[in-house]
Structures are given as C-alpha cells and as structure tokens.
C-alpha cells in the first residue's frame, strides 16, 4: 500500500495514501471528535464536530471525510477548529432534550461525553428545558425519542446499508427534519426486522430498547414463581465490556455468579438448546439431503433474519429450518422436561433469557411459540445491556464476583454451541455433527475455518462420504439479500446456508453493549468478541453437540430421537409470509 507523510500538530506521521485526516490524527494518537461518522457506513461529513484546520485550505475541513495528501499540515487543536466545534456542539445541544440524569444512556452518551470534554457550561442558543419527549413506540423492541435525536443519520445508514430494511429515513426539511418512517407511520407499520442495530449506533438516548427488566424484577420478587434464566452464547463474550473489561473478555463465570446473586432459582445456558438445535437441524438437513427435500436448508436461529425472510424474501420460507431458535427451545424445555423433573407446574415457572438481541423481544410473542398448556415458551427476555443494568442496580461488585458454574440440570454443553454467537458458528457446529453422522467416522479436525471470520458472505464445500456439500454463511440482512439474490438467479446451488440477522452474528447483536463511534471506527469490535468464543471452544473438552452427555440424556429419557414427534411438538415451529408494507395493507383492510 502506498503511503504519504503528513504533519499532525507538527509531528510527521506516515499514513496510507487513502487515509482521511481523522485516521491520520488517530495514527498520531489524537482523537478528533466525531458524531455522525461511522467508518464505511455513514461517511457523510454532516455533523461538523470533526472540523479541523489544514494548512492551505480555505476553511476548516471535515476530518472524517477529508483525504490526506503528501506534505499536508494538519492542526487538530487550533483555536479556530476548537471554537467551531464548540459552537457546533452548542447548536446541537440547543435542540436536544437534556435530561441526562434520567436518560438511559447517561454516562454512555457520545454527546454527553463531548459536552463534558468541551467544557459546555452553558448553551448560548436557548435552553431546551421546555422540550417535550417525542416518543414513537410501535414495535416490541424499540423506543424512539426524537427530542434527543441529533440527526446524525447513523441509524438510517445501518438500517439501509447493513440490514437492507431501510424502514427509517430523514423526513421533511429544515427545523422540521426528523428521522422516522414514511407518511408518519410507526415502525410497527413498516417491515422492520427488530434487529436493533440502530440502537447500537445511536450516539445519544434517542433510540433505546423496550424495557424488559422490570417484569424480571417483579418475577424475582414473587415467592410463588420459580424463576429460571438462560444465557445466550454471545452474551459471555460482551457482558464484561459493561464493567470496563477489555473487549473480547469471556465473562461466563462472573455472569453465572451474578445471575445467582440476583436471585434466579436456576441459572442455565441456552447453549444446551443450541446443541439441541444442531441435533434437530442436522437431522433435518440429512433428511432433506437424502430424500430430495427443499435445499438449501437455511438456519432459523436468528429472529431478525426470520422476520426479514418472511417480509422481504417469502419465497425462501420453504427453505427455512423448522427448528425454533435456541431461546424458544430453551423455554419449551423448561416448561416441559425441567418442570416434570423438578415437579413444578409449568404455570409457576418464569423463564427468562439474556440475549444479545432485541428481536428476541418480538420472538417471544410470535405465534406458534407455545408448546405446553397454552403457555408461552418464554416469559421474558432481556438484553446484555439490561442484564448489566440489573447487576449494577443490585450493587454487585463486578470485580470481586467469583467465577461460577451453571446449574447442572441444563448447564452442560459443547464448544460447538458456544460458537453459535459468531457468524459461521452454527454452520461449523452443524458440520461437526452432520459430517460425523454421515461418514460414521470421527472427524480428525474439528475446525471448519472457511466459515469463520467477519466477511459478509462466506462459502465453502466439503466432501462428505462421497457427496460434495456446498455451504454458505451470511450475516447482516444486506448480505443475506445478496446471497439470496444469487441463489434466486441460479448462480449458486448450496445445500446448507447459515444466515444471521446482524453483521458478524450475535456478538454484534442489537442488544449488545454499545461501543461509541470513537471505538467502533478504529477497533474491530466483532472480531475481538468472536475471538472470545472461538478461544472458549478450543479449550473445551466437548466440542461436538452430539457427544454431550446431557444432550444424549435428554434424547434417551425425554425427547426420543432427533426429529421425533415429541421433539417436533417442543422444538419446531412454522413461518408465514408477512407484508412488506404492513401499514398500507392494514389501511386497505380497514376500508
């Protein structure tokens, strides 16, 4: 790669010739403030927080998009730049409803951090004290409060560029400009996939998840309820970030200890039902492969992806695995197997999961997610962020929490289940089991590295007992759309496809800890988090779903064979096409 030498505040720095002023400053160890900028996603130079002085330029330049050139002299902290940024900040604050003490993003707000950094003691352009909340809440997962929106358009960009949904955009003009859906519709009237990626990129408290922790606290306080909790594979890889651990720290042990101290009667792992998923989905795949069923089989773990498929690519519904997501399998097993084992009425069990995901809030009330006595499989689901808040509220000192083990009734699982949290993980887990079943031989090597990594689309083919099995992995529904278009056009003929709704998989889910732009733009957060899962897998004794003693026991004593009648009752579901313009359809039905 060719490089150029520039001077940042007088210091010579060699940087790639295609770098921006922002990146050159970063290499020099200087952080130029940004708000709207998200690398590769939202490079629009709109917010003007990054204005920087470059010698020879007529005015200040937007560092986030201004390219470097040989010999460029950059002054990141000139008075002119500082004053301009401060003025910009004041103008943004003059139209921001500041209720920082009670805001969900307090102390994790990029705007608040900048206000502190720039010594913002007063806002000269009027105080926004009289501003009213401007709330839009029409989905099970999301609350938008446009009185806190700074119009950075990051949410708009991820919704379109990453997720191919584009259900929000900037509407109207001038002071009336606001982010929302067309024709004043609520998000619930659009084909939103509930992925929550917009929350993760929001620099302020304008976008938050719908609170689910309150009902968990209530259940925990109810002596009649037996409250159990299950944690998703990806949560252990991120929870520590909420307490200052480096990105990529595996927090499994402390997380289990914290959940126990919060008062849950059973602390379990959804990884167990991830292993169940592999047995069920693997069996389904083998049956489809051998009996001429619909191929490619496409995974169904990610409710954001399922929602996307039902709304945008309904022609692929027959390809979807009928397996419920691991979360829903967990709920169903708690209210059946676990209830019977413990002699507790299913009605008295309150099942909670901790998920990296906001679409799970939608999924728990999907139709066909109720297996026992007409009860919902799942009672409540909280995000990684909500669990962190619960831990703080309970006053648990993260640093001094011990590392503990899951309760054994539903706490033994394989490394294959752990890697479910990263894009490619389900495919790799499935291959470990499917290949061994088909070849009736032990795999010499368990690492299917071709399907690992953070590329949007990954392809591989394997020779399995004389048959070439072609697989593909996509994450982020924009990549899913690209892959499905390819399949539709007949340009690819896969047998097995893994799709996850969020880019990088669950480690980058919409319910995960929020990392500010200043981190996201320079650190590959997803790669570090994925590494925590692959490291955990590599260190585990059991790395194949079908070899876990608990899984064998569940089938031997309760479920029968994978794909049995009982397994179908508890662990499988159905899908149906839903409209891409639900609001418009609803209007028509009314008329």
């Amino acid at each position: 790669m060719s490089t150029v030498t520039v001077k940042v505040n007088g210091m010579p720095i060699e940087c790639p010739s295609d770098a921006t002023v922002l990146e050159a400053a970063h290499l020099a160890g200087i952080r130029i403030p940004t708000l709207c900028y998200l690398k590769d996603i939202n490079e629009i130079g709109a917010c003007r927080m990054c204005l920087t002085e470059v010698k020879g330029q007529k005015g200040l330049v937007a560092a986030c998009v201004f390219p470097v050139s040989e010999g460029m002299e950059i002054d990141t902290n000139s008075k002119k730049a500082y004053d301009a940024r401060k003025r910009t900040l004041e103008l943004i604050l003059s139209n921001h409803r500041m209720e920082c003490l009670t805001c969900v993003r307090s102390q994790n707000c990029e705007l608040q951090a900048l206000a502190e950094e720039y010594g913002m003691e007063e806002v000269r352009f009027g105080t926004p004290k009289e501003m009213e909340p401007d709330i839009e809440q029409s989905t099970p997962h999301l609350i938008r409060d446009n009185s806190k929106c700074i119009l950075c358009r990051r949410c708009v960009a991820v919704c379109k560029e990453w997720q191919h949904a584009a259900v929000i955009g900037p509407n109207d003009r001038g002071f009336a400009t606001h982010i929302g859906s067309p024709f004043g519709r609520g998000l619930g009237e659009m084909a939103c996939i509930n992925c929550g990626q917009c929350i993760n990129v929001c620099p302020t408290g304008a976008l938050t998840e719908v609170d689910s922790a309150t009902s968990v606290w209530e259940a925990l306080a109810d002596p009649k309820k037996h409250v159990v909790v299950g944690t998703a594979p990806a949560v252990r890889a991120t929870l520590g970030e909420e307490f200052g651990d480096p990105i990529g720290t595996n927090a499994q042990g402390k997380m289990v200890a914290a959940l126990r101290r919060l008062g849950f009667d059973g602390v379990f792992d959804v990884d167990v039902s991830a292993d169940l998923t592999i047995l069920e989905e693997g069996t389904e795949f083998i049956q489809r492969l051998q009996n001429g069923g619909v191929l490619p089989l496409i995974t169904s773990c990610s409710p954001g992806w399922i929602r996307f498929c039902e709304q945008y690519y309904p022609e692929f519904i027959p390809n979807l695995s009928s397996c419920k997501s691991p979360q829903q399998m967990f709920g169903a097993m708690m209210k059946s197997y676990y209830a019977e084992k413990m002699g507790i009425k299913p009605e008295d069990i309150f099942v909670v999961t901790v998920m990296p995901c906001t679409a799970k809030k939608y999924e728990i009330r999907r139709e066909d997610q109720s297996s026992v006595n007409g009860l919902w499989d799942m009672d409540e689901t909280i995000t990684t962020r909500e669990l962190a808040k619960m831990i703080r509220k309970a006053g648990l000192d993260w640093a001094s929490l011990p590392e503990e083990e899951y309760d054994p009734d539903f706490g033994e699982f394989s490394g294959a289940a752990v890697i479910f949290g990263a894009s490619g993980g389900v495919m790799e887990a499935a291959l470990r089991t499917v290949v061994e079943i088909l070849t009736e031989e032990t795999l010499p090597k368990l690492d299917f590295v071709d399907v690992r990594g953070l590329e949007g689309i990954k392809e591989a083919s394997y020779d399995v007992a004389g048959t070439t099995v072609k697989v593909a992995v996509a994450s982020g529904t924009q990549n899913a759309a690209r892959l499905l278009d390819k399949i539709k056009a007949g340009e690819a003929d896969y047998h097995f496809v893994e799709i996850m709704g969020c880019p990088g998989g669950c480690i980058n889910g919409g319910g995960q800890p929020i990392q500010p732009g200043s981190v996201r733009n320079f650190v590959d957060v997803s790669a570090l988090r994925a590494n925590a899962l692959y490291t955990a897998d590599a260190l585990m004794k059991m790395r194949k779903s079908h070899e876990v003693p608990l899984i064998k026991k569940l089938y031997d004593t309760y479920l029968g064979e994978p794909g049995s009648h009982r397994a179908h009752e508890l662990l499988h579901t159905s899908y149906r096409q839903t409209p891409k313009y639900p609001g418009l359809d609803a209007d028509k039905n009314e008329n």
Binding site: V156, G169, A176, S181, F183
Partner: protein, 164 residues
Amino acid sequence: MPNLITLIPFQGTKEQEDRLREAIERHKGEPGATMPVMQEAQEIYGYLPEEVQVIIAEELGVPLTEIYGISSFYAQFTHNPKGKHKINVCLGTACYVKGAGNVLDKICEVVGCEPGGITEDGLFSVDATRCIGACGLAPVMMIDEDVYGRLTLDKIQGIIDKYR
C-alpha cells in the same frame, strides 16, 4: 411547513397506473431516475400518495423511505390531492405585511383544514403561494381562477360560502 398526509382515500385509476408504469419503464436504469419519475407521477395523479410511492419504490428498487424523504423535502411535491376548489393565499411580501397570515389562518378555520391540506370532503384545498402579481390589491387570494383582493377577515366566510 410540514408536508401533511392526506385523509382522502386513494382513488387512482388503472389508466393512471399504466401511465405511471410506462414513465418508470422509460426512466429505469438511468442514473438519478427517481426525481423525474416522481415528477411525472405527480403530474399523473396530482399528488404523491403512499400507494403511488410504493409502486415507484418497488419498480425502481429504491426504498420507500428514500422516496418519501424526497417528497417530504421538496416543496414541489405534495402528499395531498387538490380539492374541487383550490384556494391559494398569497404570502408575498406586500400581502404579508397587509395581514395575509391572518387571512390564511381564517380561511383554514372556515374550511377546516391546515395550510397545504385538503378538507375531509375534498371540496377545498388550501395553499400558501408566493407573490401572484396583484400587490395593489393586497392581501389577495385566488379560488380556482377567481381573484379576491383587499381581503378582511369578515369577508372570508361569505366568499367561501359561494363555493359550497
């Protein structure tokens, strides 16, 4: 002024839809096809309701949010059909200083809709316009092709009633 959303049910005809699809076909594949298609659509329907925007979005492969972002940004687009009688109130400088703002408010109150909107029965639509060149008569409004000058608030009700 925010672009209002109409309460009038969509009544597009097959013929209009054919013309729209023909226009889309003509522009499809061109860079920047969205704007000309939207302009033609507005000529065909007189406004850009959601039903029309969905057709444009689906056929051009552009998200509906983007189409609506454009239509709500530019003053040249409207989301409301025009009423049977089109009321245009001049808000040019001369009219404005002679109290056209109050005239506009009064008209809206009398007919029962917002500026830029249409009454529920579809009889009147009300718009604010730039100077219509009758400054000597300020404040001025037009209803269809009829010009009314030297308006005072007490004259409004009587004028409107002539069109009911």
